[in-house]
Amino acid sequence: MTLQLQAPSFAASLSSFVSPLNRSTRRPVIRAKAEPSDKSVEIMRKFSEQYARKSGTYFCVDKGVTSVVIKGLADHKDSLGAPLCPCRHYDDKPAEAGQGFWNCPCVPMRERKECHCMLFLTPDNDFAGPEQAISLEEIRESTANM
């Protein structure tokens, strides 16, 4: 699943090698975990802001948690086509994405405003902050060292 994500970047880096000397000495590294695309991160960021406003929930005091979850959603959107909850382990990810229970916003969130990812927090939650917005810059900064 993750390999197909790497395919475009793999091809891109190969095309940049001109001399045969480079090809033998430098080999592109295939990383186990890909960074989600900027487009998906932006889509999930906008979704998170909009859904927080709509549901009357707030982001975590620690925006790093929010950033990581948004990136996780973006990563699943890239690989599975649907933003599957990043804070769960699944036996069969594509099947779960198709089924939809854990697609963000998941059923527990929609029914009971329960988000165990700590992305959408009700105002009475100890970890809830005052904000319902997060910028792309904040996301980038918080996840820069990951």
Partner: protein
């Protein structure tokens, strides 16, 4: 097997850790801390004050306090990421301390907070508790066999093999972890 299920932290939870808005790595202490042998070299510098290699400022420096021993400087993280096989070997082998296994995923927000808490716990308990973490994206089959669902999931394994393991799901307070370790031991 006792099962603690917490979705949101209880109101009595005391925020024991500080929220860092920018970096998530535990405090990475610099590697260039002066070695403990510095006081000796300073005193030896004083005897060779005529040597042109040493500037006057270094010769006359007084050591005000001894540098830290750097107990936790050598490694970046105290909680090590291990493979499924290593976990099984640890559990099957002789256990004299409780083992805490943290199942996490890269893009799981609460797992990062849990990792910070576990680092603090590792500093507190040092060698009295063995804390390890397993990446559920890497060790897919192991996580499936252990029926890990929500993340983070903690597995507290007692050194006493007759006792059942305790499993918690979600972010739990540091005090709850301490209570489990104390009651287990």
């Amino acid at each position: 097997m006792a099962l603690f299920q917490t979705q949101t932290p209880p109101p009595i939870y005391n925020h024991g850790f500080s929220f860092k808005t920018h970096s998530y790595s535990p405090v990475a202490l610099p590697y260039h801390l002066p070695p403990p042998s510095l006081p000796l070299s300073v005193s030896s510098m004083k005897t060779h004050h005529q040597s042109s290699l040493f500037s006057p400022s270094t010769v006359k420096r007084k050591l005000l306090c001894s540098p830290p021993h750097g107990k936790h400087v050598r490694e970046d993280y105290l909680v090590k990421k291990v493979s499924a096989q290593e976990v099984q070997e640890l559990v099957k082998g002789d256990r004299d301390v409780p083992i805490i296994v943290d199942f996490f995923a890269t893009w799981c927000g609460p797992c990062i907070l849990m990792a910070q808490e576990l680092e603090m716990l590792a500093v507190e308990y040092e060698s009295n508790v063995r804390i390890i973490k397993v990446d559920t994206d890497d060790e897919y089959e192991f996580a499936r066999d252990m029926q890990v669902r929500g993340l983070p999931t903690l597995l507290f394994i007692s050194p006493d093999s007759s006792k059942d393991a305790i499993r918690t799901e979600g972010l739990i307070p540091l005090q709850m972890m301490r209570d489990i370790i104390e009651n287990e031991m």
